[in-house]
Symmetry: C2
Subunit: 439 residues, 2 copies
Amino acid sequence: MNSRTPFALKGDIVHTPSFAEFTYYEDAYLVCQDARVAGIYRELPGRYRDIPVADHTGSLIIPGMCDMHLHAPQYPFRGLGQNIEKPDWDSWFDQYAFPEEKRYEDLDYAGRAYARLVGDLLQSTTTRACIFATIHRPATEHLMELLHAAGLCAYVGKVNMDRNSAPGLLETTEETLAETRLWLARTAGKYSDVKPILTPRYTPSCTNGAMEGLSSLMDEFRVPVQTHLSEGPDEIAWVRELMPDIRFYGQAYDRYGMMGTRQPALMAHCVFSTPEETEMLCRPNVMIAHCPDANLNYSGTAAPVLRYIRKGARVGLGSDVSGGRTLNLLRIVSEAITASKIHWAYCERTGVPGEKRDVLTLANAFYLATKGGGAFWGDTGSFETGYAFDAVVLDDTRFSDGNPRSVYERIERVISLGDERETKEKYVNGSCVYRRKSG
Amino acid sequence: MNSRTPFALKGDIVHTPSFAEFTYYEDAYLVCQDARVAGIYRELPGRYRDIPVADHTGSLIIPGMCDMHLHAPQYPFRGLGQNIEKPDWDSWFDQYAFPEEKRYEDLDYAGRAYARLVGDLLQSTTTRACIFATIHRPATEHLMELLHAAGLCAYVGKVNMDRNSAPGLLETTEETLAETRLWLARTAGKYSDVKPILTPRYTPSCTNGAMEGLSSLMDEFRVPVQTHLSEGPDEIAWVRELMPDIRFYGQAYDRYGMMGTRQPALMAHCVFSTPEETEMLCRPNVMIAHCPDANLNYSGTAAPVLRYIRKGARVGLGSDVSGGRTLNLLRIVSEAITASKIHWAYCERTGVPGEKRDVLTLANAFYLATKGGGAFWGDTGSFETGYAFDAVVLDDTRFSDGNPRSVYERIERVISLGDERETKEKYVNGSCVYRRKSG
């Protein structure tokens, strides 16, 4: 079965065409034609009668999930450095992030490390990702090649850092712009599924000169941009010091056209955004990458994503490996719900009006991980007709408890407790990219 | 190897004799004699030269973990019912907890369900647990038999409910006392490793008459008591309604001698304890079962356990399956750290003095899961000489990333990301109770 020939998956189909609720089709057929969803059927209609059917009766079939924030070079130290004996989370950069990222100058090391990441991504529920690489162009290009070879969809960014970085990981302004231009020229049209995305790490690591140059490259190559925004109070204070003429952090990107006014913009975190910044985040060409696991690890604070969504913001979910601990977006969906409860409890206890008992439902959080983030690629993350055929078949028999369970309950449980062991088959743009070995 | 013959485990040994920090012994021998830890050695001394050695070179060896709050009958619906479309967590009782608990009247059903739980507990890092069963004496006795046969240590409680329960799950006061007496008489001296613990569910489900009777039985049979305390604001308000003459919830137990004045008391949750209640919790015969996963799921609020610990309270960790999602205490250790960050951030944002940047370290949280809870059984949960020989061998090679990692980093990662797949061997009181099939 490839993306050209029509084919069908049979099983218990679940998706969230709307933010509000799941739609289920038990024991139904999900038809793929030309890499897109052609329809969901209880019985295959005449024109599809003879197409190949992958029979996954009893398994769940969900849209592929989109990891909207992932630091590829940090995967080797996932789960490390988040519990410091004397809480001082700055040391995470010095002890883990910067020393590890430096190693990607060595293309052999990068090849081995990125191959492990891509192998593990393949087994996860993730079909698409927006990825930070390192400052190193060759390693970044290699990661793009690996993702393409694996059949995953991704935006990948060569990171820019021309100030406040570690020795050996600091570019001059000229270098960062020249390498970015070369990288964009080499990769912008190379793959249909893996694309470059402009990636100034964050304001503290990019001079105004770099930002100006990147701004021009963004328009010249018509590429989107991803970066970090309002992740922690210390970072926000630092940005205010570096750019004393701005009122809020988001302006540091907006003045370079990087807040959705010229190209699509993806803003990771947005935990402490002010009302003015929130308005900026609600622009139609901006998306928030909500990273609940990383946020709770780092600052103990949950981003008020429901507030953003009610105001019209577009939101996807991110693992933020390795500020977050895991690539497993099922767990991140679960964390997003918990984070929304934490935010609600905070509002309740402190008397913030208007947000009481306003928490993400399971369907809401599932939507963010699928159709929410998927919107960054257009019609993606849902099984509506015409959407990209990204599908994950989940074998949830590990959780069988001897009782009949509804599809809602099964999806709830796989989100609460599932991991890569549940992934049975995975399709991206209609191509099967992963099939579990046993059964 | 059994508990009589001395033997040793060889590997990378990690424990927390103190709350403050880990102690490591790389590539060392942990010797067991007469079911107790006889010592840790770099080289085996002469008298142990010929004892059998289980060579786990390269694996981690940690003390067994103690799950201080676990509802055994709720295991079949783990991960379910925590995300209600319109947040109304009362329906969790009506939809899941009560209907499921009713089924344990049927001993066949109970046998099947409890066998699954005990099988999964065996593969986890848990060696000891404090367990709520149901109101049903026969099923409760059966669970005790299964735990004993599996070689696990446990306190198990027949639950008391003579008001505010569901039809079919409500006892009369006379019934609950008569069945409890019979159960205690049949089980109090039956096993050395599995013991009864008095288990009035919580104040709303037990009349004063029941509490008076249970109070007498507690002293007559010299058994400890476990129950729920100050889990949520609604529950606390309800208790105040039911007992208008008390100033705080803890008094509802204290007046029946169930707050450590006569027998040991284990109080689950304690999220919203007042200063007066906190003082009561600091009595030497009281232990708090901190259940961070369940608390964040249920109320979005983290119990201020560091505050309790600083004031002298004894604290262990609980999964609270199935208010919590998982039996996996590694994940609960991780959640305890996150919960402490959430509490710290709450204090920081609301200006609560004196608790700034005061979060659980990895060693602190590990201590709670091992020696903290273990204290409920006396010298347990640490590898100090004379302590009960409860040990778990963890094969953490699944997380190998091509880089050398310190023992601290390996334990950090297994706590962040590990599950039952890491359990290679498990010992309780010197007996091997689980050995992984492959390797």
